[in-house]
Amino acid sequence: MRIGVITFPGSLDDRDAQRAVRLAGGEPVALWHGDHDLAGVDALVLPGGFSYGDYLRAGAIASLSPIMTEVVAAANSGMPVLGICNGFQMLTEAHLLPGGLIRNEVGTFVCKDQALRVENTSTAWTNGFEQGQEITIPLKNGEGGYIADEETLARLEGEGLVAFRYLGKNPNGSLRDIAGITNARGNVVGLMPHPEHATEPGFGPDTPKAMRSGVDGLTMFTSALQGVLAG
């Protein structure tokens, strides 16, 4: 199964997302933002980073990149699309997901191992988790505060579109402790924390068992691969 990872100018975690796809058993395909071509992939990852230096607003300029025409069309036709951190910001800027991300409440960049609760396990990217499962994956961002108007928040909650919620202290002031959301169809998911950095033993978050052994993020990639296989 081939999962495309799009590199924008200023993408940083693109090679990490490719590695995560490989560790999950998929074939990563490097895509370039300037091409109108998805190379026939089965799913898409918009990786983390500071595309265009976060100028204007994080993700705002990248959401107008040439390839986004194809991304929007693919998302609307049901292809699994995952936006991580800056990728999540792009998905909201492209109106594939509602709401927006603003500067962390603390005012600084925050890097930490973050506990999350999986709230929705029926999406393309979360179907391998147990409902309510608690996972730990790295969080690292400067503009991770999720906001939306009350009506949107009520709809997200009412329709079960909150995919992940922060546990413990809210790290960035996100409303309702929202860490990630899905569209109603469940194929487009965006989240601020970085699942691709919890996929390889030795390079993930600390766990009670061993240093840097956390691989909770891997399930997101295996979920998508299994979904594609089943589909």
Partner: protein, 770 residues
């Protein structure tokens, strides 16, 4: 690719022919930081007065910051005190943008640490940000992909209100720039001391990896090859940064130097990195040089000096952010995110295709010639015609007066022996916690949690472990470790010994992770070289470091000198930062610094002596600095590292933590805090064997010591190894529960340790996101 059209109001340039015709014109050499003698020498070299463009070039390139004119005499030792073993794995030594070390399997690592002290005081955010940017470009220039950064920070007293200004600015500047570049920040140092109040030290280290065949050097060879400037446009920022700012002391009431600070754009640099790596992959550059201090003056003169010796440049082809800049300003500008490449004419189109793909603006400025002259034209008129070596390599060399400090004997005579040693358990508990909660020993996550430590997915160790560690090869697990250390208090007491102590500590920190130390880079931060006592300190420190490296047979691969870190007559403590690179054949074998499991035996390796002079205990508990720093025996450090390596090869070490600032007490606390597993410890046997009292057992900073945890089943093997090698070893306890219990003295819960250590920085600098 478009040259900026000439502005109609452009003033007439000071051409070479004009300089010949007007030999007596007065020139502002003193305002540019040159002495009368230096100016006279430039006239002698040229056989005429310099043009204003030439004067600008000489003034920045002959500045202390660029020419190393006061330090050269001493730095030569690093090239002279060298054994054959030290050259074995050294692919590129001192004098290039950064040293390059062969780490095996066809891989090489390049690393360097550099200062950005003066700009970071004036404008902390941009100063620190561009410090990161500058050192990263040095690494790219070698043909390497940058893979990590570290920072060595020294601020004024934590309670001084101005310190918060500098800390917030510096931390957010590093966070902003480093995070946006996508480079994990894997370690570093943070110290607070009033001696750095007006002269904070912001040193930045970057490290990169490359395949042997990808090595690039900064030289301009091949007559007819094109000289290409690419990256950000040139603006009016950082003019005179090297000469006026970094090569002078701060003084009260002087003019503001803010315009001499550069402004950084990390997005432009990130794109530049990827663009350069694609150019390297396509083998499209013959030589490459980053633009840092002294900008185009430096890049053109160094590339030409290191190549065929001649270059012709049309300066009006430089793409400008501000079209009103004069030729002299363009030559001196230190605008960031720029690179200069030498490109074969037949590869120019392919080169431009890559820069276009990354939206990197590019301009062909000129070409390599065989004239032996660097000639620069400005709108058709010749404004520079010099022999490039006289600018880049043959600057003045000074043998500055040195003087043994008048105050040093008295300082060394005032030892810590007169300080009271408490014996009451409650008072010792209080001292232990006051050390743990002192700004220099307290938890630094307020700073480090603002840095991305995960990006690139190869971080095997980062703070708070003893060293950072990065995987180089995903297949084999080959990796490197990096630790940086300096102790200004020790160096104030004895700079020769202080430099060796920094070397020993960085060596020990790397060894504690399971890696083998192989190479050193340094950043030597001192006061004014025009002060003979400072010059003496510098001479001593360099000698100590060079002697120490020869003894360890570890080469110094490069580094940086930062002088003039003084305000008025008050210099900083001498602060030679040593960065040690180690190699590990598989990062899966790394050793953590703290305890993860209960029931492991705790061993103290090495001997504890009453060495409290200059210690954290003397400073924090008694406000004292005097005496002589701890002894350091480098063969002992080598024996300790070899023992660690042998034990780790048998996979019998659960953790290892170096003993340094704060002694055994601090090492115990940090080992608990790493994962929250406690321990029961007894000091009686240690005190008896080494003949020391309890204060010494807890707080002495004797070298050659390490605290290791060993699973019970490997106990016999471990003791056997130590005995076989004759290394002093003592079982001092066992990991257990969630408290640190020092039997007969005190018990502190992990929660109290955490609260004590974690509250310090946020209490002063505000809440964090944790």
């Amino acid at each position: 690719m478009t040259a900026v059209s000439s502005s109609p109001s452009r003033p007439a340039a000071d051409t070479v022919s004009n300089a010949v015709a007007t030999p007596e014109r007065e020139q502002p050499y003193a305002a540019l930081g040159l002495t009368a003698d230096e100016y006279a020498r430039i006239r002698e070299i040229l056989g005429r007065r310099p043009t204003s463009g030439e004067l600008a070039m000489y003034s920045v390139m002959w500045s202390e910051h660029c020419s190393y004119k006061s330090s050269k005499k001493y730095l030569r030792q690093f090239g002279q005190k060298v054994s054959p073993a030290m050259k074995k794995n050294l692919m590129v030594g001192m004098g290039e943008n950064a040293g390059v070390v062969d780490v095996g399997q066809g891989w090489a690592v390049t690393f360097k640490v550099e200062s950005h002290n003066h700009p970071s005081y004036i404008e902390p955010f941009q100063g620190a940000a561009t410090g990161v940017g500058g050192i990263v470009r040095d690494i790219i220039s070698m043909g390497a992909r940058p893979v990590a950064v570290m920072d060595q920070l020294r601020f004024g007293a934590i309670e001084n209100p101005d310190t918060a200004r500098v800390v917030h600015g510096v931390t957010s500047g590093i966070s902003f720039y480093g995070n946006c570049l996508g480079l994990p920040n894997i370690g570093g140092e943070t110290y607070f001391d009033a001696v750095y109040q007006g002269n904070p030290l912001v040193n930045a280290l970057s490290v990169g990896v490359l395949r042997h065949e990808d090595l690039h050097l900064a030289n301009a060879r091949g007559v007819g090859n094109k000289v290409v400037l690419f990256g950000a446009r040139t603006g009016g920022d950082g003019i005179g940064g090297a000469s006026i700012l970094a090569s002078d002391t701060f003084s009260e009431g002087g003019p503001t130097k803010r315009p001499a600070v550069q402004v950084g754009d990390p997005f432009a640099e990130k794109v530049l990195i990827e663009c350069c790596l694609e150019l390297f992959r396509g083998k499209l550059v013959e030589g490459i040089q980053d633009l840092g201090a002294a900008g185009i003056s430096c890049a053109t003169s160094e590339l030409a000096s290191n190549g065929d010796g001649g270059m012709f440049i049309e300066l009006e082809r430089v793409l400008l952010r501000d079209p009103s800049l004069t030729a002299e300003e363009i030559l001196m500008s230190e605008s960031q995110e720029r690179m200069m490449a030498v490109v074969a004419p037949e590869k120019l189109d392919a080169f431009l295709e890559v820069t276009r793909k990354w939206d990197v603006e590019t301009s062909v400025l000129g070409e390599v010639t065989d004239t032996g002259r660097l000639v620069i034209n400005w709108h058709g008129e010749e404004i520079v015609n010099v022999e490039p070596r006289t600018v880049a390599l043959e600057g003045p060399v000074y043998d500055r007066p040195v003087a043994y400090p008048a105050w040093l004997d008295a300082l060394q005579a005032d030892t810590a022996d007169r300080l009271r040693h408490e014996t009451a358990p409650d008072l010792l508990r209080k001292q232990f916690l006051s050390l743990l909660g002192s700004p220099n020993l307290a938890d630094k996550s307020w700073i480090t949690d603002q840095y991305d430590r995960y990006v690139l997915g190869n971080t095997a160790l980062s703070f708070p472990d003893d060293a950072g560690m990065i995987r180089v090869d995903e297949e084999s697990g080959l990796g490197f470790a990096l630790a940086t250390d300096a102790n200004g208090r020790y160096c104030q007491l004895d700079p020769y010994q202080g430099a060796r102590l920094a070397l020993a500590e960085s060596f020990r920190n790397v060894a504690a992770t399971g890696a083998t130390p192989v190479a050193v880079s340094d950043c030597l931060n001192f006061g004014s070289p025009e002060n003979p006592e400072v010059m003496w300190q510098f001479a001593q420190a360099v000698e100590g470091l060079a002697d120490g490296c020869l003894e360890l047979e570890i080469p110094v691969t490069g580094g940086n000198v930062s002088f003039y870190n003084q305000t008025g007559d008050q210099p900083i403590h001498p602060t030679p930062v040593v960065a040690m690179l180690g190699v590990i054949d598989d990062v899966a074998k790394r050793i953590p610094s703290g305890w993860q499991d209960e029931g492991h035996n705790l061993y103290l390796l090495g001997v504890t002596r009453q060495e409290l002079d200059g210690s954290a205990w003397a400073g924090v508990v008694h406000g004292h600095l005097g005496g002589r720093p701890p002894a350091v025996d480098l063969p002992t450090e080598q024996a300790l590292a070899a023992l660690l390596a042998a034990a780790n090869s048998q996979n019998i070490l659960a953790s290892a933590h170096d003993l340094a600032d704060g002694g055994l007490a601090q090492a115990l606390a940090e080992s608990v805090l790493r994962f929250g597993v406690g321990a029961r410890v007894a000091l009686g046997e240690l005190m008896e064997r080494d003949g020391v009292d309890v204060t010494t057992a807890l707080f002495s900073e004797s070298t050659g010591r390490m605290l290791v945890a060993v699973p019970r089943e490997d106990d016999v093997k471990f003791r056997g190894l130590c005995e076989g090698r004759g290394y002093p070893v003592l079982r001092i306890g066992v990991t257990d529960g969630a408290d640190l219990e020092v039997q007969g003295l005190f018990t502190v819960s992990a929660d109290e340790l955490r609260a004590t250590s974690r509250v310090v920085l946020p209490a002063v600098f505000g809440q964090s996101g944790l």
